[in-house]
Amino acid sequence: MNITPQTLSLTALGKQLRSGALTSRRLIETHLDSVQRFNPSINAIVSIDADRALAQADHWDQQFALGRSLPALAGIPIAVKDNLCTKSGTTTCGSRMLRDFHSPYDAHVIEKLHEHGAILFGKTNLDEFAMGGSTETSIFGPSHNPWDPDRTCGGSSGGSAAAVAAGLVPASLGTDTGGSIRQPAAFCGVCGLKPTYGRVSRWGLVSYASSLDVAGVFAHSVEDLAIVLQAIAGHDPRDSTCLPHEVPDYLSTIDQSSVRQTENIRSTRIGVIRDQIESPGLDEQVRRSLKDAIETYRKLGAQIVDIEMPHSKYCIATYYIIAPCEASSNLARYDGVHYGFRSKGPEASTLDRMIQQTRSEGFGPEVRRRILLGTYALSAGYYDAYYLQALRVRRLIRQDYDDAFAQVDALLGPTTPQPAFRLGEKINDPIQLYLQDLFTVGANLAGVPALSIPIAQSSDRLPIGMQLQAPPLGEAKLLAIAAAYHRSVEHQPTIPAAFQAPQS
């Protein structure tokens, strides 16, 4: 196997940078070269400040040369979804509304990345304001799946997933409101983690649905997820919903001797949501791969328990009330008055008309659809039947999770109903697109951590993902269970042949 920076883990990159076998500058240059070469075909990265990245690389190289003890991500490039505010460059949310918007401040996760030495390496493409599941609603056009450019990379954090899958960056940040990290991770064959709601600060994450949004990580391995999560997790007084709990050492729970790990997995109870595995809508190859994975866990000694989630069938309906309601209010600030796009058309002659035109022209159809849905559901006379009812069902869904986690340590199931679908296939059928979130939205409604890891490839060589979910703040255990699986099947991160950089 070719050893290029593209396929090295964060730990391996860190070792090479510290030993002097690799410089941060060379690493950045290699990735800049990959971006130049491969990004046009997948459209994963929408903006990049190369000079700034190189300057930071030189800074870290000097520090490495001095033999200083440096933070884990020192000198390593990480891309972030373009709905995370960065002082450098633009923060567009993939929308015409914010196409030229410069944030005067960094999101908390960006501050944390800088604190841990990471180099901000580009902003990634997304569905407009993170609303979508295929990265097709972006003002920058769709991103493409590196495994098959005719197919979607998923969404809404599609750019972040595709960038890692194509080897443009070793890791990236995304955001997950209803599956926006796990679904693209599954489609692109990478690992994606949605942490517990509140484990990572939302300060500087441009709100879509505040009670569901959380920032998370894409990487090639579970270990790498742990390293980046370690950097971005923790309390932030600027987010009232951020949890004050101490952050455990995630890597140490994974990085154990095989003996300890075997012992650990033996004492683990894994719940299988039968309704999901037996779901008639589930692709046969996905079903078979999941059954294999369950067998692998059984062989490792884990106890497999069937779990009922009686309210899971209401997840999609509940999500598509709550998220648009919050979005309709969260996106009210984009009115053309203070910043962002303002309609200059002749119809924008009065203030009211200006606001109407600005919002009609500045938002794409999917964002407009969700704002209308939410506005409707919050209106007098409908509030009780829709929003209040959705909140009640959300409590029942949370109760399902509480009941499940009273019996098991983690829940196992599919991430998506099938591997990546074709671009354009579902974009004109919102219901079909919304159903893609069937298995993922539950974790957001309940606020629990969940991840997707690649477990197989379909006959079309498309990645298949498996979702694992754990109780609130159970990231350490969740990562350990996922890592145990990958170790057991000797999972090797691979980059599609077309994206492998030549040896220099």
């Binding site: 441009v206 209010s329 009210a332 008055v337």
Partner: protein, 500 residues
Amino acid sequence: MINSAADYRIVIGLEVHVQLKTQTKLFCRCSTRFGQPPNSQVCPVCLGLPGALPVLNAHAIELACRAGAALNSQLADFTKWDRKNYFYPDLPKGYQTSQYDLPICSAGHVDIPIAPSVNQPESQNVYKRIRLVRAHLEEDAGKSMHDEHSGRADSKIDLNRAGTPLLEIVSEPDLSSAEEAKTFLSELRLLMVYLGISDGNMQEGSLRADANVNLHFAKEGQFIATPIVEVKNLNSFRSVERAIEFETARQYTEFLRTGLAKGQAPKQTRGWNDALGQTELQREKEEEADYRYFPCPDLVPVRLTDAQKQTAHEQSAATPSHYRMQLIDEHDLKSTDAEILIQQGKPVVEYFLHCIAAGANPKRMSAWMLQDVLRTLNDRSIGIELYPVSPKSMAQLLTAIESAKVDTSQAKQALAKLLEDPNLTVDAAIDSLGIVRVDANELESLCKELLAKNADVIDKVKAGNTKAVAALVGQAKKKNRNADPRSVQEICLKLIADMQ
């Protein structure tokens, strides 16, 4: 048909926005200081920038609880934040963070002093209880400034005020005259200022009121209500009074003309134009505006602890009413005099009470406060905290009158000296007037001499007119300028009494 002016009453409810005296805004750390350059006290949170999130200012909760305790309200165990969604250029987020169904304070009342009726003794205060619906916390919007002089309408927005904490206090429609409404507002302001909840500065917009006004016409033992009109933009006591008077007259004429009752005509919102002295139609609505309130998902609900409520009650004890009772019941002041002191604010009342504690006679001190101290404060445009004479000195000076060491006019001269030179002691001030104490025997022989010459005065006093001795004071002064008028009168009366 209604045609008699006597057959109606006025029904008024007030919504009062009180700006809380916090250093920083309700959901961010920007300063709330007034009068700074436009948009100099803003941050991503109060600008409503993408990704910015609110964090509650705990001091605002403390002040709201204190207000609730003072307003005899019920403090909520559990209160939350709701978004009120509407578009307006000075509302940067497109919603106002407010409280909808679970306000921090529910119910309550304010007792307002009202003019006593003719057959009640003047000293007795009469109160009317104005019930409250609720009081809730919310953030203020920014300020739009329209410049119509620059040819094209040019609007500017200052967001310094956006996010400032407001307590909106809503009364029941218990007010029945413009004067009562004014008194209610004034009493509310006094309460907020006494308890340090607000600076109550109306020029700076720290207290703003909207009034809901309508008329109830009596008809055959029933009443007909006219449509409720909300009058906005009442930023002074005077405008509250004038606007309600105007609105009452307008609704009266309107009702006689149209006969339309509540429910038969749309609810109006009218703005008060202070310059023209009239209310002007802003909008008419058939239905309530739909603000699509829902719980703010960026904030967590607030649970008030028993300790917080206890503190609020302790901190709300020193109300104007508390001081009123102290002045009137304990120190026997006339209610009108007490009211003047109360209206001056807590520091003036505290000064007065310190003087009493230091030994000053309450009635005399009250007179001196009203005549001398307040005049000096006014002349010098200073607050009581800069008044040069300490309560101890003031008490000493007044005691000197009691003990006849000086007469009133001399004491006032001494006060003038003390005001000029605060380092002077009271004794030194009195000494500097060159007052020579007249010997008691000397004074008595002087009085005998005067009485011998004024037989008519003796007759008058004997006939019951004791005030007649006052005529002798002037003569005594002529003979000895240090003769104390009060002593002269007392000695003369005693000598006359002894004659009998």
